[in-house]
């Protein structure tokens, strides 16, 4: 035994790739090379590519080669997936983004293999991960009790936060607002007292780049909610009960106040039409005062607008406390994306495939899927992966570079936030730290998987309910209608549109899945 080991080590040294040769021993899944077909079309423009450095390394480490069958010609991932399902000609593995409901639905119809037994017997790392993360296991379980897919598990905590012009606060002699009342005072001062000093009342105290989803985050300041997950207008769970954020007294109070702020000019008057360009335009014109947006990209304006707006300090403040004293940051990085992969019913090598899925939850698999290939894209420094300087200093953002080599793609893998921390702006890190210290993280509702009958009830009522809800919300915010006058008819109409039935279905699915 010893002699063989020595021989192996020696030959490895001679081959000149010491680190590479020894680790394949633990990662090899098959002795003879095995090729599996995969359909993976994602984010409307990428397909699985066996030329990716990461894909080649995967083959070297495990012995399994994945061959893409998705057409590069399509520019809609959804269409590519639909065509695949309609053709009935399934490859060994199906992967991609936004496929959660499809994996469950078509899994129950017999397109994908149930993975429970396979995980139990052949995937120790995945099994441990699911045991340690009960909620994720429950969230991916289908109504029939089976697991049909392995999700992409993001890492990190905070996504968006409240950013304010600290330099304006200082100029006006104000402290960073700690409560919603102090926030009102500060925004009012932004509006009235000309903090940009150009003599005109052109300041826009609050602006939102994504008004359909982010404007509602203000509701949290009055103990309301705007969504329970990182999808817009989603349900949330309050002590075991599924509820919709756009109902109840707190919602009414919140909307009443948001409408007041809008009427007083504290919220961008053009918030619903300015949209995507709002942040860049209003910060660049030295007119925007505060927003709710992604940490990294928002903080980066301090650097990119340094010359245009001298002295700009646009940094995060802790979420202001609501009247009941709660500080909550609603938006977070999801613990589970609706992306991932599944094993088709026609796959002749389910054991090898589940072992491949398991590989992504081993330390080597995580390094490969997060950072790329060692020596090529990163080096180990003090036991931690560090990107090579040419990657960190390249013009393209690191995540885009990773996609190009086949890392950080929406297969069933476990993200490591350290990959992002390495290239996040210092201002953003400071801002995130503030939120981490305060522990403002909200618990997230990972959604339910419905049976066919439940889904039918949901599909029949929910699109109308949501249309009505957001239609009313905008009318109230803009002041064309009055929330207090409409409140009774609003609730009556929601009842008529079937909100109670939808909530009942959600509750039933929730209890089956999470208890």
């Amino acid at each position: 035994m010893k002699r063989i080991m020595t021989a192996a080590l020696l030959s490895a040294l001679l081959a000149g790739a010491p680190a590479a040769a020894q680790d394949t021993k633990t990662t090899k899944i098959v002795d003879k090379p095995l090729e599996l077909t995969i359909h993976m079309h994602f984010r409307d423009k990428y397909v699985w590519n066996d030329d990716w450095p990461v894909a080649k390394e995967l083959t070297r480490l495990t012995g399994i080669k994945l061959k893409n069958v998705a057409s590069k010609a399509t520019t809609l991932s959804r269409e590519a997936f639909n065509l695949l399902m309609a053709s009935g000609n399934l490859p060994d593995i199906v992967a991609g983004n936004e496929l959660r409901q499809d994996f469950v639905r078509y899994g129950m119809e017999g397109a994908f293999q149930p993975l429970n037994k396979l995980i139990d017997q052949h995937a120790p790392n995945l099994k441990r991960f699911l045991a340690e993360n009960e909620t994720i296991r429950k969230a991916i379980t289908a109504p029939d009790g089976n697991i049909y897919w392995i999700p992409y598990v993001p890492d990190g905590k905070f996504a968006r936060g409240w950013f304010i012009r600290y330099d304006w606060l200082e100029k006006l002699g104000l402290q960073p607002p700690q409560t919603v009342d102090e926030l009102y005072t500060a925004l009012k001062a932004f509006r009235e007292r000309d903090p940009n000093g150009n003599g005109q009342k052109d300041e826009v105290p609050l602006f939102f780049r994504e008004p359909d989803t982010e404007l509602q985050r203000l509701l949290v300041l009055w103990d309301g909610r705007s969504s329970g997950s990182d999808a817009a207008h989603d349900f949330y769970v309050d002590s075991g009960k599924v509820r919709h954020p756009y109902t109840g007294e707190n919602y009414r109070t919140g909307i009443r106040n948001i409408a007041k702020w809008y009427a007083e000019g504290l919220i961008d008057k053009e918030v619903y039409t300015r949209r995507a360009r709002a942040r860049e335009a209003l910060l660049g014109a030295n007119q925007g005062g505060m927003t709710y947006d992604w940490f990294a990209s928002t903080a980066s304006y301090n650097t990119s607008l340094k010359d245009k707006v001298p002295g700009m300090k646009f940094l995060a403040i802790a979420p202001p406390a609501s009247p009941s004293g709660k500080r909550l940051n609603e938006n977070r990085r999801s613990r589970m994306r609706p992306d991932g992969w599944a094993i088709s019913v026609t796959n002749k090598h389910p054991v090898e495939t589940i072992k491949l899925f398991d590989f992504y939850f081993t330390p080597q698999g995580r390094l490969l899927s997060n950072f790329g290939v060692e020596g090529q894209h990163y080096d180990m420094v003090d036991g931690k992966p560090r990107y090579k300087p040419e990657i960190l200093n390249a013009k393209a953002p690191v995540n885009a570079q990773m996609w190009d080599i086949g890392a950080q793609i929406p297969i069933g893998f476990w993200q490591d936030y350290d990959y992002e921390r390495q290239w996040t702006d210092e201002n953003a890190l400071k801002s995130i730290e503030l939120y981490e210290k305060g522990n403002y993280l909200t618990d997230e509702f990972l959604g339910v998987s419905m049976t066919v009958d439940e889904r039918q009830v949901f599909d029949r009522h929910m699109p109308n309910i949501q249309t009505y809800m957001i239609e009313q919300m905008q009318a109230w915010v803009l002041g064309s209608r009055d929330v207090d006058k409409d409140w009774e008819s609003y609730n009556a109409q929601l009842k008529k549109l079937g909100l109670d039935q939808v909530l009942a279905v959600m509750q039933k699915a929730y209890e089956r899945q999470y208890r």
Binding site: M85, E109, Y272, T467, Q474, S480
Partner: protein, 346 residues
């Protein structure tokens, strides 16, 4: 007028514009009553067709690609229409999905927001027909009266140009023009002492904005077909009118407009057939939840319902409904036109 009278004499009762070569006297004969003679007629027609094909085979070869295109892209997909009556699953396929009768239609028509979308679609189309349809005709008449060639060409080019700009850019222009703080419209209102208006969030303004900007975008281009028709009018008619001392307005009224009538009627029938369709992309770009009340049309309704859960069966049901309504509209417009103006597509 003279043409129409001539045709009435020939006994057909209508001008068969598209029949052209095939309209032999046998085919145009009134339908026979007894079944045997009807069969005889069909058989005879078939034989005539065969001999025609043998004689003019080059023409039929030229026609073939278009017929193949119709069969492959318009008739074959009709097989899929059955999913409107099924609980459709992509994986199970069209045959494997269970029949559910009219459930999808019941779901559509018991939905007050779908009905609102139908109403909005018809209203937007109807107002477009009333306000936008005459504009290219008027524009063509006006171009025709410009006698300075250079000026006329420049004016025409300027009015065509917006047609080639994509809907995204037009929507951007509209949003900017109507912006409450920096938009030119609101600046004007402000200067004139009026209140500024956030137009795009007020339901009452949606239809005028949508139709108005569409007129600006398409009127110039749509006028081309009328200009072509005007160019085809016999100049002798104008000469003799001038000899009789007719004014320019009289010439427009008694020569140009009557000669344009067949084209106008055909364009009208085509437009009526499209009543149920509106420019979906452009609406999506301009509407807000706040304006759903007047802006939400069938296609945007299906888009939102479909996006959430891929409800193909429901979408197909709505499409089938659209097609049936469009068919009824076209047939009745054609009938009305034939009845009152003696011009029709078939």
């Amino acid at each position: 007028m003279a043409d129409a009278a001539l045709d009435r004499e020939s006994g057909g009762g209508s001008v068969r514009i598209l029949d052209g070569v095939i309209a032999t006297p046998e085919l145009a004969a009134p339908p026979a009553i007894s079944p045997t003679s009807q069969e005889y007629g069909i058989r005879k027609a078939f034989r005539t067709l065969l001999s025609d094909m043998r004689r003019d085979w080059q023409l039929y070869v030229l026609l073939a690609p278009m017929i193949i295109w119709f069969v492959v892209f318009l008739y074959t997909p009709m097989y899929g229409l059955q999913i409107a009556f099924k609980q459709y699953s992509l994986f199970r396929g069209i045959e494997g999905s269970p029949w559910i009768g009219f459930d999808n239609f019941v779901a559509l028509f018991s939905n007050e927001y779908f009905l609102r979308a139908v109403k909005n679609t018809l209203l937007i189309s109807f107002y477009s027909l009333v306000f936008a349809f005459p504009v290219p005709i008027i524009l063509a008449l006006m171009f025709n009266e410009i006698h300075h060639q250079g000026f006329r060409r420049i004016a025409q080019t300027i009015t065509y140009l917006p047609h080639f700009i994509s809907a995204v850019i037009i929507a951007g222009l509209v949003i900017n023009f109507l912006s409450p703080t920096t938009g030119i419209v609101n600046i004007l209102l402000d200067r004139l002492g009026f209140e500024k208006i956030y137009f795009l969030t007020i339901p009452e303004y949606f239809r005028p904005i949508f139709i108005g900007s569409n007129i600006w975008k398409e009127a110039g281009f749509d006028s081309i077909v009328y200009l072509a028709a005007i160019a085809g009018i016999n100049p002798a008619l104008y000469e003799s009118a001038r000899m009789d001392g007719a004014s320019r307005l009289q010439m427009i009224r008694y020569i140009t407009l009557p000669s344009l009538l067949p084209v106008i009627m055909i364009m009208m029938i085509i437009r009526v057939g499209q009543l149920i369709e509106v420019n979906f992309e452009y609406i999506i770009l301009l509407y807000q939840p706040a304006t759903f009340e007047t802006a939400d049309v069938i296609s945007t309704f299906i888009y939102r319902a479909g996006l959430q859960n891929n409800q193909y069966a429901l979408g197909t049901a709505a499409d089938l409904f659209n097609a049936v309504v469009a068919l009824i509209l076209v047939v009745s417009a054609n009938w009305l036109s034939r009845r009152y103006s003696q011009h029709s597509v078939w």
